[in-house]
């Protein structure tokens, strides 16, 4: 479960990115986080992954209190999250299999566990036959599916996707979002940051709209509010 209570965040340059946000995402939910550029969406992702600390308020993620988490606990908290980025962030000199195995190794998985888990995850994202390919040999949609597989491979409670369809055409975007919905149906909490109104409306899930560091709308069914710009 993710819970933000009266969270405020101000960067060193004086920018107040988050101005008292309170938000709860229950286990197993699928939530779209939408809003215009500079609204504070990315800051929320950074707060959830422990990259930045809030100036005020409390953040709880999967049993960890991020607001006053010790340095030793940050890796443990991050193991409960799977993060997907707009630019995929795959290691080009590693094969698809190695891109997944190195993140399993990084959290102490044994070679046996790795050999068992990776084929399952690649099958889930429909890339079983691309195991030995390098990222540069894959299309954008396939690369993003590898990124999803990488986010899933350590079996996190929550997937956080930051503009996952930003580099994909509409058809691939829809395929990818269907995949995230499928993953959510298997029990993983999914938080998707996006500015693609059509996609948000298509799925009819819970939508949290952020603007100027505030939650201006939190409803189910589709985007409510003004314009959305990436």
């Amino acid at each position: 479960m993710i819970r933000l209570k009266d969270v405020e965040m101000e960067y060193d340059n004086g920018t107040r990115a988050i101005k008292g946000i309170t938000l709860t995402i229950e286990d197993g939910e699928f939530v779209f986080l939408v809003g215009p550029s500079g609204s504070g969406k990315s800051t929320i992702i950074k707060l959830l992954t422990g990259e930045v600390e809030p100036c005020a308020g409390r953040i709880m993620i999967n049993g960890f209190s991020v607001s006053n988490i010790s340095e030793r606990q940050i890796p443990l908290m991050r193991r409960t999250l799977g993060v997907i980025f707009q630019d995929f962030r795959l290691i080009e000199k590693k094969t698809v299999y190695d891109n997944l195995s190195f993140v399993m190794r990084a959290v102490g998985a044994s070679p046996k566990e790795i050999q068992k888990r990776i084929p399952y995850v690649l099958n889930l994202v429909g890339l079983s036959k691309k195991s030995n390919s390098y990222p540069t040999e894959l299309s954008g949609g396939e690369q993003q599916r590898v990124a999803i597989a990488r986010a899933l491979v350590n079996n996190p409670n929550t997937i956080i996707a930051d503009e996952p369809t930003g580099n994909l055409d509409p058809e691939r975007s829809l395929e990818l979002m269907n995949l995230l919905v499928k993953i959510n149906e298997l029990g993983t909490t999914v938080v998707v940051v996006t500015h693609e109104k059509d996609l948000v409306d298509h799925f009819g899930k819970r939508v949290v709209t952020i603007d100027s560091g505030h939650v201006i709308n939190d409803s189910v069914g589709g985007y409510v509010g003004g314009h959305i710009h990436g």
Binding site: P75, R78, G82, V83, F102, V103, A106, V107, G108, N154
Partner: protein, 295 residues
């Protein structure tokens, strides 16, 4: 993270090392140079020290007794000489014994075989404790009533002391400078690797890898660079030492200098080189990644 995954970290460290071949080569080169210079000066100091100890053990002050003293009177000086500070022992040598000893040194010279003992003086062969105080002790021995003359090889002892002191000072200064340079070069080599792998490190952090897990491959890289440098430096030092030792042994004018065989020194040299190489390598890698992991 459970047990230490030695195989994985070693493989990653080795792969890091080869990913920047030229920088790794430069890092190894400078570390080898550092270790060689350090080793050479240390070995010079060790040999000079050994020679000084030999001199301390073998070098005697010869104190000649006044001609007017009878043998009995001369022998009586022994207790006075042994009371002089820094004198370890004083052995009486009569004129006859001195003549026999002299004749033995020149067995082929018939002229020296029938000498009259009266042309020699009674004397004391005095061993001293600390060679540094040779000249002071010689003066004190000479001041003993009944001692007419003293022979002490102060210049030779002084020469070796100077060599040892210079070697020690140069050695310490060079070690300090080259140690810092080596750590800096290795640190920069590893910084390049961390830069090359920044994306990988960012992903590892994002998925929950501990700092230790991220750090170990770079520590192994530093360890390998340092250890490899130590191994190369050891064999080069061996060759250099053997060549110099042979040169000294075959040179007639350097007969006084006895070089310690490398066979006696190699375990210490290998141990010191390995330790210094590893300290430089691991120190360099820790210095490179310390700041990096705080991001």
């Amino acid at each position: 993270m459970g047990k230490h995954d030695f195989g994985y970290f070693f493989h990653e460290g080795l792969s890091n090392m080869f990913s920047h071949g030229f920088m790794s080569f430069a890092a190894i080169g400078i570390t080898v140079a550092c270790l060689l210079i350090m080793g050479t000066f240390t070995l010079v100091a060790v040999n000079a020290n050994a020679l000084l100890q030999d001199l301390e053990q073998e070098n005697e002050i010869l104190a000649y007794v006044d001609d007017s003293y009878t043998e009995e009177q001369a022998k009586a000086l022994q207790s006075k000489l042994e009371a002089v500070p820094n004198v370890a022992s004083a052995k009486f040598i009569s004129k006859e014994e001195a003549m026999e000893s002299f004749a033995e040194q020149y067995p082929d010279e018939s002229l020296f075989q029938d000498l009259d003992p009266e042309i020699f003086r009674d004397r004391f062969a005095i061993k001293i404790t600390d060679l540094h105080q040779l000249s002071q002790t010689a003066e004190q021995v000479k001041a003993v009533s009944g001692i007419a003359k003293v022979n002490a090889y102060e210049e030779i002892a002084g020469g070796f002391i100077t060599v040892r002191n210079v070697a020690t000072v140069v050695c310490v200064a060079l070690i300090a400078i080259l140690f810092v340079v080596s750590v800096f070069i290795i640190s920069n080599t590893i910084k390049l690797t961390t830069f090359d792998r920044r994306e990988e490190i960012a992903i590892m952090r994002m998925v929950g890898a501990t700092n230790g897990f991220i750090r170990w491959p770079f520590v192994y890289e530093g360890f390998l660079l340092g250890f490899l440098s130590a191994a190369i430096a050891f064999f080069l030092q061996w060759g250099l030492y053997a060549a110099v030792a042979q040169g000294v042994d075959t040179n007639d004018t350097l007969q006084l200098i006895h070089i310690i065989p490398f066979q006696q020194l190699w375990p210490a040299v290998a141990g010191i080189f390995a330790a210094a190489g590893i300290v430089i390598g691991v120190g360099g890698s820790l210095s490179a990644i310390r700041k990096f992991l705080q991001v």
